[in-house]
Structure formats: C-alpha cells, structure tokens
Subunit: 388 residues, 2 copies
C-alpha cells in the first residue's frame, strides 16, 4: 500500500541512527518508470529548510526518479552547511541507484526532512543509511517508508484510491505545526497513471488547495512542508483529467483527515463549516480565524458550546457579514441565531471526538470547510518539552 | 488612587448580585467637574457588545459625566434586548445622579460590561445596584471601583502619575482575550488637568497605540474593549500637549504591563522586541506573529530557548527581511545568527517570569515592543471550564 500501491514504484524505510532512540528515520521512494513525471507543492513560509529549497530546484523540469526523506532533523535554519548536506544526500542517492542499474543524477532526487529546526543532520549516519535503504528497496516497501517518516506521529498515515487499472497512493507524516500554506508535513503520492508533469501539477494544486491547505491544527506554519506527486506511467493508462484530479483529491483528503486525527495532544477534531459566505475567500478566512482562536479551542476541549467565542472570532475578520445576522450551530444545534442567543446550549452533545462548528454568514452562497483541533494541556506538555 | 487620584472625581464599587458568588460587580465613576471632557477608544471587533455601541454614541459630543461598569456579564451578542438594557442602565445612572444634584442625562453616561458573552444581564439586580453605588460615591472610592470590575483577574489594577499640580490616574481589568485592536479589557482613566475633548482624544489614541494595542496575551480579541479618559479640569491647570500625552502614556503602559502580568494561567511574561525593521508596521506585524505562535509560547513555558519557532513565525509575515540575515536573542543570548545556529543555547537563563525575545530583522532602523504570555496547561484549564 502507501507509495508502492501504484505500479512502477519501490520503497524502503530503515533506521539510520539519526534518531537517538533507534526508531526508523530514513525512507527512500524510487520511480522505476517508464515515466518519471513529478509535481510538488511546498511551504509558503519564507524561512524554508534546505531540502525545500533543493527540491523546488530539482522539480523545475517536472521529473523525479527518487525521493529521500528523513525524520530526526528538519535541516532548517542550518545555513550553507545545511544546503550542502541536502545536496550530498541527493548525490548519495543518485550514486547508489546508479550502481543498481541505469544512470541517475542528483538533479532527479528530491529531499525532504522533518524534525527539530536549527540542528545539522548527522551525515555520518545519514549517508550510510541511504545505502542501507537502497539495498532494501522493494515493491512492498511502502508501509515501512511511511513508518520511517514519523516524528511525534502516533500512527503512520497512508491512503490509496484504485480506479479502472490505475492507482493513486500515498503516505504522510505530521502531528504538529499544522497550518495553512500547507499543513506541516511531508507527503509523497505516487500513481501509475500515465500523466505528464503539467497534468500532475494541476491535479496536485487543485487537491491541496481544498485539503492540506485547509488543515489548521495549531496555526503554526512549518519550514519544511513538502507534498510530492510522482507518476510512473506503469499502468499504461491515461485517465481523464477530472477523474485523475478527483482521485488525487480523495487521497489528499484522506491523509489530511488522518493528520488532524493524530495531532499532538488533541482530544477533539473540529470540522469548521462556513456557509452562506459572499466569496470562497471569505469562507476560508472566517474558517481559519475560528480555527485559530485559542479560547474557542479550549472551550471545545472542555465540551463547552461557547458560541460567543465563535462570534468574537468572526468579528475580527474582513469577511462580508452583518453581526446581527450571524448564526452558529455546534453539532447541529443553532445555539446562536441572528447574532444573539438561539437554541438551548444544553441540547449540544459534545462527547465524541469529532465536533462540527457551523458558521452561517448569511451573506451569499459560498462555503468552505477547515479542520482544526482543540487546545489541551497535553498539547502544552508535548510542545514545551519537545527539544529537551 | 485609581480613578479618584485626580481631583474632581468620585467613585464606588459594590456587589449588586450580578455575580453569583457575591463578589463586587458594579462600579460607578462620576466626574464632578468643573469640566466634563472625555475621549474613548473601543474594540475594533466588528461584533461589538451593546455597551460599546452605546458608549461610542454618547461620546460623539466629547462629554461624559459618569461611567457605569459591571462585571459578571458582557452583554455582548444579546440582540435588541441587550441594547435596551444598556440604555436602561444609563437612564438609571442619570436618574440617581440627578436626584443628588444637578441634572444629568443618559447621554452623558458611558456603560461598560465584562463577563460571559451571550447572556442577558440580570437587570433586577443591576438597577438597584446602581442606586446602591450612587449612595456610596466618594473621593476615596477608586480602589473599590477597581475591585468591582474584576472577572478572572487575580488582582485589581490601578496606576497614577502626578505632575506639577495635576494628575492622571486609572484602573483596568483584563486577564484573558487580550489581543490587539485593544486588549480585552475595561479601562477608565481620569485627570484633573484642564484639557478639552480633542486634546484628550489625541493623547489617548497616541497612548493606546503603543501600549494596550501592543499587548497580546492569547491572540483573542474581545467584543467589549473600552478605554475611557475623563477630564474634570479641577486642577485649573492645562499642561503642555506633549507633557500630558506622556503622562497618559505612562499610566496606560503601567496598566498594560499589569494586564500581561495577571494573564489567565500564564507563567511567563514575554517581551518581544523587534529591531532593525524597515518600518514600524513591519516591526509590529512580526512582533504580533511571534506573540501568537502557540508552539513558541509552549517552548517558553518549558524554558526552552527554541529559536527555530521564532524563525518559522517570522517566515509567515510579509515584513521586509532576508531569511539568512535574521538574528534572534533570547534573554540577551544571540542563539540565532544570520538565520542559522548562533551562541550556545545552554547560555540562556529562562528561570524568571519575564523573558525577552529579540528579533533583529536587519532590514532598517524601526522597532516595536509587543508583550505576550506563554501557553500553559493552566490557561487551557481555566478557559475550558469558564462557562460551566
């Protein structure tokens, strides 16, 4: 499953010793062709990790043969040495793959890293790890690769959609620093559909816009977010553009939901539906603003349908609305009507992990869904002790 | 002290029974003249509480005789009935003050409320409370008034500056929902300087811009923020414009610092200095973005000088900077230099409550200071149980 569900891909996940606890920390994904088309979407953070800068460069020609990913270190804010390390990692992958068969250049290898910011990677462990991973490449290696990219994730995340003769599959990691302009995460998607780089790029951008870009666990945007989509063409089939885009979107949506479901310290997954907005942009702005309101996130943790905090969040946006026409439902109970007290808040049942907050702007017909998490003492604990 | 430090003011603070625990919950401040000039600054939240809408209206003529404030209920998101209740409160104040002497109209009475959103005030308790407060008005009532406006505040907040023959004093409440576009709070400032409404307005706007507007405890903006400045002229002195503005700024700064020091569940007060910015707006944007980064707030709670989280926050702004020229100091130790690892993080001592984060954008010569708090399990606890 995972990145090897589609034909034309091998993968491996191994322990290189980058993580001090000895857990798997290096993954390799190889496109065995015949096609090597690829597309990528990266963090919009202006402080970008070295591997993000590298991978953006090597993707300009729309081709990738391999992706190497490590957990145990983000290689972000590491200066010129950090970039040299990323380059050396890609060179090493090219060298070991070339030794296995056809010639591969470093420019065909994307690199992705995740972990603590501001620390150089232990290259004396990482480079031998690349050799070890290459030796273990397999058509059944997708699961192990997904496991090797975990950081604070409690479970590994994979998803697959199979259509008539072709498949889109993928893996994701991410459990914190999840915020728009991509959630903080590494994602590799593969397909055996015969789609060129332009087609991949269109499908990927369209998919991430309404999936990963609408996940906002804690409002914090990473320096390392990377989503790659690789096509091997091994199925020999070229799906219709819409059909392919929908399959990619379904896999992204599935993985995005898994990220929220495993967010650091969270006890609730919050589905924020903004409806009857004047524009989609308004709906997204309002959704994100609600998603980032710490007081509301605390209230939901406490199973308190505190709609006043939803209204005060909406009030800070520039979206079109009239305060006295706003309606808010929590788990289907319209606790706020026309900007004031609505149905009895005691009717709201918030016992389950998934909580739906519906904000009706009464200003148009556009809508958007943003996913967020609650704010808990466990989140504080996990993130105040992370680097120590 | 407090609002009665300046001559020409009386005040009272009493328990009207609005709070179920019987604590003081109603304050009255009266300007006994000879001048009744006033200015106000209010929340920029588009969802405004009824008393904010009312007080903005009555301030249009630049005159106020009295301010009535209640804790125990915000009277926000309460529809037309909520506005009627605010109006009735002002009418009651006018009635009881008129009975004591010269005629006062409801249009000379500002109203401020704080507490839970979305609940109507118990007018059967509030209106008799106004009578009781009026009966207790005193030139020594400032302290009691400051106590009566507390909600989750653990201490009441007052400040006074006395110059040659004239005084500016004030009281503030606020312990959560502290964020720009005014911290979430009620503040009443009084002066016996002989300054007209225009002069008060200029001094107040200038003061709040660099004090209350730069306090960001939890990124959450209230529906009720109100800062009022009343002048009685009782000293008979008219200070120079700059001298007066500086006194008002000093009182505001003092109160703002007290708000941060008493923020809900906080264990650290974080002074964020942004230096060498291209513009002051850039400096403020970067400061606010750092102030709202939950991961950094958790790290500081854990006394972890995690500068990577400062950089990833800066990277989400639109301020002018080059990532590889950014420098960050925590409590004076430059842990990040030129966007990469700097001095040894073990040199950073974070044991004390006040922590200074300095972000050097290396892009100009402007600067700004934003105050914030850390994120703690206590904050989560206090805000997940607030309304239950």
């Amino acid at each position: 499953m995972s990145v090897t569900a589609a034909k034309g891909f091998t993968a491996a996940g191994i322990a290189a010793g980058i993580k001090q606890n000895g857990n798997p920390d290096l993954a390799l994904v190889v496109n065995t062709g015949p096609r090597r088309a690829a597309a990528g979407v990266f963090t919009s953070n202006r402080v970008k990790a070295a591997p993000v800068v590298w991978s953006q460069q090597v993707l300009t020609d729309g081709e990738l043969t391999a992706v190497v990913l490590n957990s145990g270190g983000a290689n972000a804010c590491t200066g010129p040495q950090g970039f040299q390390d990323t380059h050396a990692t890609a060179e090493k992958v090219a060298e070991v793959l070339s030794a296995q068969g056809e010639e591969v250049g470093a420019g065909e290898v994307a690199v992705a890293s995740t972990g603590l910011i501001g620390v150089l990677l232990p290259m004396d462990k990482l480079l031998p790890g690349v050799e070890k991973a290459a030796a273990e490449l397999s058509e059944h290696g997708g699961e192990k690769a997904a496991i090797a990219i975990k950081t604070t994730d409690t479970v590994h995340k994979t998803a697959v959609v199979t259509e008539d003769g072709w498949t889109v599959g993928g893996m994701a990691k991410g459990a914190g620093m999840l915020a728009p302009g991509l959630a903080t995460m590494l994602v590799v998607l593969t397909t055996d559909a015969d789609v060129d780089a332009e087609g991949l790029d269109a499908a990927l951008r369209s998919a991430t816009r309404t999936t990963f870009d609408r996940v906002d666990s804690d409002g914090c945007m990473s320096t390392n977010d990377t989503v790659l989509l690789l096509a091997s063409g091994a199925s020999g089939l070229t799906p219709a553009r819409d059909e392919f885009a929908e399959a990619v979107r379904t896999v992204c949506d599935d993985l995005a939901r898994q990220l929220i479901g495993d967010a650091e310290g969270a006890s609730k997954d919050i589905r924020i539906e903004v409806v009857n907005a004047a524009t989609e942009d308004d709906a997204v702005e309002v959704g994100r603003t609600i998603a980032r309101n710490n007081l509301l996130k605390c209230a939901i943790h406490g199973e308190d349908p505190n709609w006043g905090r939803v209204l005060s969040a909406i009030g800070t946006t520039s979206a079109a609305f009239e305060p006295d026409r706003l309606n808010v439902a929590i788990n289907g109970v319209w606790v706020c009507k026309n900007g004031s007290v609505g149905e009895d808040r005691d009717l709201v049942d918030m016992r389950y992990r998934e909580v739906t907050v519906t904000a009706d702007l009464a200003a148009g017909s556009e809508s958007a869904v943003i996913w967020a998490n609650d704010l808990t003492a466990d989140y504080v604990h996990e993130n105040s002790a992370y680097s120590s």
